[in-house]
């Protein structure tokens, strides 16, 4: 199967180096070909498994607790400005 690598890389927000594209395209095509074997199974009446434990609606009490998580998270920011993560410009002016 042909793998449209440019389109998928765009969706995955991933630049690829020119040298690695054709190998990845070939590998991914081969893996998808292998996955075709699932089509030999009739799964019309089978429920999908999204999770193996039959847990439902795991809630916790909505309690206020003190936490320094926000400050600790900001300590690891590649670029911080006060209490914010700083990023490059999002909207470019024409």
């Amino acid at each position: 199967m042909e793998f449209q690598i440019d389109k998928v890389a765009e969706l995955a927000r991933l630049n690829l180096k020119p040298g690695e594209k054709s190998k990845l395209e070939k590998d991914l095509g081969a893996i998808l070909d292998y996955a075709q074997k699932l089509n030999t199974l009739d799964t019309g009446s089978v429920e999908p498994t999204s999770h193996v434990l039959n847990l439902e609606n795991v809630f916790r009490a909505d309690e206020v607790k003190t936490s320094n998580a926000a400050e600790k998270a900001l300590e690891h920011a590649p670029h911080r400005d006060g209490d914010f993560f700083k990023v490059p410009k999002i909207v470019q002016r024409d």
Partner: protein, 473 residues
């Protein structure tokens, strides 16, 4: 004087109870310093900072090492990836809190396949870990550093994580014990996620007894992990009784197929014969959807992986490649931060979740996953434990499978099904090839019946004493 590094976790804690752990830590520091340049099992370990506290907790300060995808407060954690190089974890994983409370000294941080994507430890951005029994071979993966460090007596025990066999396969290849507990038995809080409906943390140890001791410490419900099971935890050491009389063992015929190494098959069949001799019953069973396991895994697990790795974008932590605008920063950071295998899986996962392909791949995969689970449910009506090879082959050569991803993926064919079904599974050393490479057998049990694995594994281990044989390094 006995070589302290050769002790089991049980023996070492007994010793440390009397004399403290400092002499043990000194011995392991010395050995790890000498061997790590050869084996590359540890990404980080700082002998200067290793000191034993006066410690009355159960593990008495003895050294336990940690796969580098588990967060330790204040220490670097990288998943062996460039995208996390230099990242310092801001909190302890729940398993780390538990180990600290139990008195363990957190020793080395172990090499691994990048983001746990691999079966050989070759995708590590820091360079491959080597097999302690043959340095030209891979230790298996993804928890290759954890397994190699235990096998080389560079640590008493280690933690790994297992999404499709990443604890059991390297344990088998290196000749040590590796347990993937039931999904939900051990909290995943603080484990950097790969496939969230598969991932489990578990111990890699020298003996089954050591695995039971650590599983007691690691297990239990955690409010911080909504997928952890609200169930009580038995004392697993109670299962170490050296008695398998009446235990019903199944050999799945789909696990003894063409392509399996004849020496591996022979060794596992001999283990089955030994169980019979010890009073267990052994019967052939069928898990008919086994052959679809790898295909399902490389759809469903990579879909989860591509979603989990979406967070690595240069904004909040880790690598950021500077760029003029945000979009370019995302694309360039991810290009330069991720290695080939991570890119391959991100692309594949993105594809199977994308509009127009979701139903044909992802949903289909989830449905076949149900069929694989049902195979196990049926089989466990007839047997208590399933016995199989852990890996179809012993350790392969470095570079042997890197060019062909599919061949690499198929090396997990016997370990992946337990992750699909969420059941506990353990690899136990069962013999050696003629050329001296370890062989592992896999035991699988019903959900939350790890005790059955410890019972079966311990009886075999005590009867054969295989764990006493060590590599020459």
């Amino acid at each position: 004087m006995t070589d302290l590094c050769r002790l089991t976790l049980k023996e070492a804690t007994d010793l440390a109870k009397q004399d403290g752990a400092q002499s043990l830590l000194n011995a392991f520091s010395k050995r790890a310093q000498a061997l790590n340049p050869k084996v590359n099992a540890f990404l980080r370990f700082d002998p200067a900072k290793i000191e034993a506290s006066v410690n009355k907790a159960p593990l008495c300060g003895v050294p336990v090492s940690i796969k580098d995808n588990i967060c330790i407060d204040g220490r670097e954690v990288t998943c062996a990836s460039r995208i996390l190089a230099g990242h310092v974890a801001p909190y302890d994983a729940t398993v780390i809190e538990k180990l600290k409370a139990a008195g363990a000294t957190l020793f080395g941080q172990c090499n691994m396949d990048e983001f746990a994507f691999g079966s050989s430890c070759e995708t590590s951005a820091i360079g491959p870990c080597k097999h302690p029994w043959d340095l030209a071979r891979v230790p298996g993966g993804s928890s290759g550093g954890s397994a190699a460090a235990v096998a080389a007596d560079m640590t008493l025990a280690a933690l790994g994580s297992d999404t499709g066999g990443s604890i059991r396969q390297p344990a088998a290849l290196c000749g040590v014990v590796g347990l993937k507990p039931t999904y939900g038995r051990v909290s995943r809080y603080g484990l950097i996620a790969f496939g969230s409906s598969f991932d489990q943390i578990g111990p890699i140890t020298k003996t089954v007894e050591d695995a039971a001791i650590l599983t007691n410490i690691l297990s239990g419900h955690d409010p911080k992990d909504s997928t952890s099971a609200p169930r009580s935890v038995p004392d697993f050491t109670q299962a170490l009784k050296r008695d398998v009389k009446g235990l019903r063992i199944g050999l799945p015929k789909e696990y003894f197929i063409e392509g399996i190494d004849p020496e591996v098959e022979k060794s596992v069949r001999q283990a089955a014969d030994l169980y019979k001799k010890l009073g267990a019953t052994v019967q052939t069973i069928s898990l008919p959807h086994t052959e679809y396991s790898v295909a399902v895994y490389y759809i469903v697990a990579v879909a989860e992986a591509s979603s989990n790795l979406g967070r690595f974008d240069g904004v909040e932590y880790g690598l950021r490649v500077p760029a003029k605008e945000l979009r370019e920063m995302y694309f360039e950071t991810r290009d330069q931060g991720f290695g080939q295998e991570a890119k391959r899986r991100i692309l594949l996962g993105t594809f199977v979740l994308s509009a127009g392909y979701y139903e044909a791949y992802y949903l289909k995969g989830q449905k076949v996953r149900t069929l694989i689970r049902q195979d196990f449910e049926k089989a466990f009506r007839e047997v208590d434990v399933i016995l199989s090879p852990t890996s179809p082959t012993p350790a392969f050569k470095i570079g042997e499978k890197t060019a062909d991803p599919l061949a690499m993926y198929l090396s997990d064919i016997f370990t992946i099904p337990a992750n699909h079904a969420g059941i506990p599974a353990m690899s136990v050393p069962c013999g050696f090839t003629a050329s001296g490479l370890p062989i592992g057998m896999q035991l699988m049990a019903r959900p939350f019946e790890e005790a059955a694995l410890f019972r079966a594994g311990y009886a075999f281990e005590q009867e054969t004493g295989i764990y006493k044989k060590k590599p020459t390094l």
